[in-house]
Amino acid sequence: MSFEVDVELRRGERRLGGCFSAQDGLVALFGPSGAGKTSLLDMIAGLVRPDRGRIVIAGTVLFDSEAGVDLPPERRACGYVFQDGRLFPHRRVRENLLFGWKLAPPERRWLDLDVAVGFLGIGHLLERMPRTLSGGEAQRVAIGRALLSGPRFLLMDEPLSSLDRGRREEILRVIERIRAELDVPILYVSHDRSEVDRLADRVVEIA
């Protein structure tokens, strides 16, 4: 199993979290807006601490409330791609891309800058500042930054939702290529049925 997730978090009256397990490939978490899909990804990334539960991904226990395991985010090795790109505004594209790469231990760097840049078609953007990028460009850089950090798995939180139709197609193709060519499990959050049908090997419904 690539993904074994069973977590719960109470926020006032609401109960957030989820329970699923899945094999390699692209697993889509599908559900309406506000169902807590982003919270679930944040828990898996280690940015939000669940009240209880267990997260095992690609053979590593990331969180286990009973065993007292709670790896900090920097030791979970997840490549997190956010809805809004979330590039570092004070650093050039090149520095954004290399941020995680420089921090990763050499044996975990399975992708080089040149390869990633060619793959994503962002060679002409390297010296630009993030605020000068279009939405699609920023999202490609964000994907590159996540891939270059040497992740053991990818988390993608509606990476298309802030883009217009043309850009969506462009990023969709990038994600399809990542799925086909790179051997990395992906957890993909979306509320769009057609996206999920096109990309996912397995769909988990989050209500």
Binding site: D42, A45, G46, L47, P72, P73, E74, R76, A77, C78, G79, Y80, F82, R86, F88, P89, H90, F99, G100, L103, A104, M129, R145, A146, S149
Partner: protein
């Protein structure tokens, strides 16, 4: 040009302000951090305490410093007996007064910029492998830098102009605690001192403009773009 006395006054003023601001900057940053990000009981009280020197008359601040750091004050006694340090009537005391008076302005400036740093960007850095300290150094601090520069400029301006708390706490001793504002005040008391007053006043205006110019230059360099205005 400058007379030796004027030159000495400028050097003293810069020494007092420079030491005050350099010493108080880490404290101001820590307080700003606590107030911007912390959640703890007594936060409102801490906020009020930090702002106190901004709202009470400077003479009162000077008097409180005198009570605490004077020969028989609780802090003053400890400093004197344990470390042999005396602040009262010394330039170091003037620096303390300047630091206390500058603190609230500096905390405000840094706090504002810290509150504008998107905590989600810090989360991104964490997922990319940066521990808490590296995240702070590579994301939080650079993004808050305009506020830190603003704090330095405001603090320097405030401390170079400090008068009330200084004269109350460390008196007006030539060569030791007589900074620019105190020298201007002293010259005003002397019949026919108008020329001296005018010269000193022009010097303090020049100093302030110089500080502003440096801060503008710094913010341009740190921001790398035109929208990095500090004040």
């Amino acid at each position: 040009m400058l007379t030796p006395e004027e030159f000495a006054i400028i050097v003293l003023s810069l020494k007092v302000s420079g030491v005050a601001i350099a010493a108080v900057l880490p404290l101001a940053f820590a307080l700003a951090w606590l107030l911007a990000r912390g959640r703890f009981p007594g936060k409102l009280l801490l906020d009020a305490l930090v702002h106190l020197p901004l709202v009470v008359p400077p003479v009162v601040t000077g008097w409180l410093l005198l009570l605490a750091f004077g020969k028989s004050g609780p802090v003053g006694q400890v400093l004197e007996q344990w470390f042999g340090v005396t602040l009262i009537f010394r330039w170091t005391g003037a620096a303390l007064a300047a630091a206390v008076m500058a603190l609230p302005l500096m905390v405000r400036a840094i706090r504002l910029s810290l509150e504008n740093v998107d905590p989600r960007l810090e989360g991104v850095a964490r997922t990319l492998g940066a521990g808490p300290w590296r995240t702070f150094a590579s994301v939080t601090l650079p993004l808050a830098l305009p506020g830190v520069i603003a704090a330095l400029v405001l603090g320097l301006a405030r401390s170079i102009g400090e008068f009330g708390a200084t004269i109350t706490f460390v008196s007006n001793i030539p060569g030791e605690t007589r900074t620019l504002p105190l020298a201007i005040y002293t010259a005003l008391q002397v019949p026919g001192g108008e020329v001296a007053v005018t010269r000193l006043a022009l010097i303090s205006v020049a100093l302030s403009l110089g500080a502003l110019a440096i801060s503008e230059w710094l913010s341009r360099r740190s921001g790398g773009n035109g929208d990095g205005h500090v004040l």
